[in-house]
Symmetry: C3
Subunit: 159 residues, 3 copies
């Protein structure tokens, strides 16, 4: 299910278009999107990214170029989500959408959860299963719940 | 895929009916259900709830009214799951289904995992990525793995 | 979506074939596979297993007989995943696929994340929501992030 209002770049690869749910978003050139992915209105994915199966990208998320989003990654945009207030369902516009940015070249490991309003830095690496509750510096490796810095990808790459 | 045996209330919103799997469950009035959600036989969802994408609600789970279930939330009902015993697949009825209740107005953050047999209290807030292994008191805010109480929504709401 | 190149055993149960994504893998006799599951090329599932909804089994994973894989379980095969290098998308073959084995009779709880290159021992029990970063001994019960041994299923079974 790819809504007609999705802005798809060149050579975007979506091998299972019937098993995704994309609407109102922008997808850059050459990006690959796996099965069971939802990307919401008001989000943006850069060029040459991988958005792996079972991941959810919500409104307010900007993913820059060449970012790896693993499997089952959950982004969020509301620090205090509620279904209803005073008996009335909350709709878009009823809460503040916090902005999240994943900078160029970063990787978000499978099963990670990203709290709202986070910046994940350039080339940073978020470990699988991490729960990210604060900004991740450029080049940092973070793991755990809550995620903490345990290394630097420049050192790791040099090993 | 919405099985004919699902009891749907009035004005239930399921924008992607081909991308959900609902069977043998009850869904209350005005509730919204996202893509890639499975709700099993023997579970019940109240009125004016949001069950967000990628979540799984199993047999034995009762979700009261106006509950927010985030994205990728996993409920469970078996403390010691096994596929087979003595070479024979286990079927429903071969294990004790523990009962979980999410009380009115509570929120369960995205990526949370709820162990079996849990009560999540009225208006309580389970943080994104939390692993809930014990009951959550009414109005409590819990986060982490295992989830621990870190605040009270009444104080937070008053801020 | 079950690709013609999947080797299906006898009496494999896939109640929602339109809501799975299986390709290039092998599935043993009597195994059950839930909705929203992806099983990739180059992986193998044994006989009489349960692969529950929302789980992802990647290349390099071998699941032996009678294994329970809960809901929303994420396997991984790359310790340092990237989307691209020097402006070019990485493809299969561009990284080392680490091998993971889940031994006969083991259970992996819902919401668990399994880091690459792990062995989960015979009859072992991985708790719901665990992040498994090192091998799990035969019969061990592990929980938490990172997962640590907290018990032995033989003692538990004897209770």
């Amino acid at each position: 299910m790819i809504s007609p209002d999705v802005k798809l770049g060149q050579r975007v690869s979506i091998p299972q278009p019937d098993l995704v749910n994309l609407y109102g978003c922008e997808i850059g050139d050459g990006t690959k999107i796996g099965a069971f992915v939802e990307i919401q209105r008001g989000s943006s994915i850069g060029a040459r990214c991988k958005i792996s199966t079972h991941s959810f990208v919500c409104e307010g998320v900007t993913v820059e170029d060449e970012v790896f989003v693993g499997h089952g990654v959950m982004f969020t945009n509301d620090r205090f989500p509620r279904a209803a207030r005073a008996g009335v369902m909350l709709e878009g516009g009823d809460w503040e959408v916090m902005q999240t940015v994943v900078r160029r070249g970063a990787s978000v490991g499978s099963g990670a959860t990203i709290l709202p309003g986070i910046i994940i830095g350039v080339d940073a690496m978020v470990g699988a299963g991490a729960v990210v509750v604060s900004d991740v510096p450029d080049y940092a490796i973070v793991v755990g719940c809550p995620a903490r810095v345990v290394g630097d990808v420049r050192t790791r790459d040099a090993q």
